[in-house]
Symmetry: C2
Subunit: 124 residues, 2 copies
DNA sequence: TCCACTACCTTGTGTTGCAAGGCTTTTAGG
DNA sequence: CCTAAAAGCCTTGCAACACAAGGTAGTGGA
């Protein structure tokens, strides 16, 4: 067996409770299969997301009926399992994004990071 | 015994790995005792933070020598345990804030939330 | 044949936020 | 004096979950 335990420590905990949201967001932009999602997420800055993280998560999303699955053969390798959002999944994504924004702003406030009001630079 | 378990569900998980940072940030603005920190955090939008969350966390911060403690009598009640940042704590706060910003931006990107570039409105 | 890549999944472990409850000291009411 | 409430502190037990590691299966090239 193998166990390393604390690989990155804090950073891996920062994604708690948001990874499923990220997955839903990725799926919402078009059906995808698990192996590809890790690459999509990695390309977006979530560099540490591995397969061991997302497959249990995808299973949970499927169990909660937030995603629908469909099998399709691949050109080289085992058949892919494509995930797409269910109507409930879309709603969960919207709700989750709002929850994330709220929590994010609260943390920014607690950390003393100034929230910048966006104002157009028109010469009034 | 008592166990409720899933009180809020997702929202409580969003604070994973950031609560200690929030605590360090609160302490960095002046020594504080635990009971008061929950109120300070609540006033800043972290409405769900309870004592059961922060006391084990404060213990961990103390064990890791990120904070220093000092006892002081209170006007009514048991003596307060004031926490203040150690030099290591200040450094950990800086590093942690940067990690949070990175993770936050990555999540924003993965969720498709547009990042606004801040530009000063000076008449150049 | 052997290796590498694609693609899926499971098991085990450590961290940690939280509910619930208990302890101590002081002040207020009766 | 006795009780109750509040201010403070702390511990126990649990469930959630991200991750490392490893396992399986199919295809194609050296």
């Amino acid at each position: 067996m193998c166990h390393m335990g604390t690989a990155d420590g804090r950073r891996s905990q920062l994604l708690r409770g948001v990874l499923d949201l990220c997955l839903l967001a990725v799926i919402s932009e078009g059906p995808a299969y698990g192996y590809e999602m890790t690459k999509r997420l990695r390309a977006r800055g979530l560099s540490i997301v591995g397969e061991g993280s997302i497959y249990p998560l995808l299973g949970r999303l499927e169990r909660d009926a937030l995603v629908e699955t469909r099998r399709a053969a691949s050109n080289g390798g085992p058949p892919r399992k494509y995930y797409s959002l269910s109507p409930e999944g879309e709603r969960a994504l919207e709700v989750g994004v709002r929850e994330w924004e709220t929590a994010r702003d609260a943390v920014d406030g607690a950390l003393g990071l100034v929230k910048v009001e966006v104002q157009p630079c028109t010469s009034s």
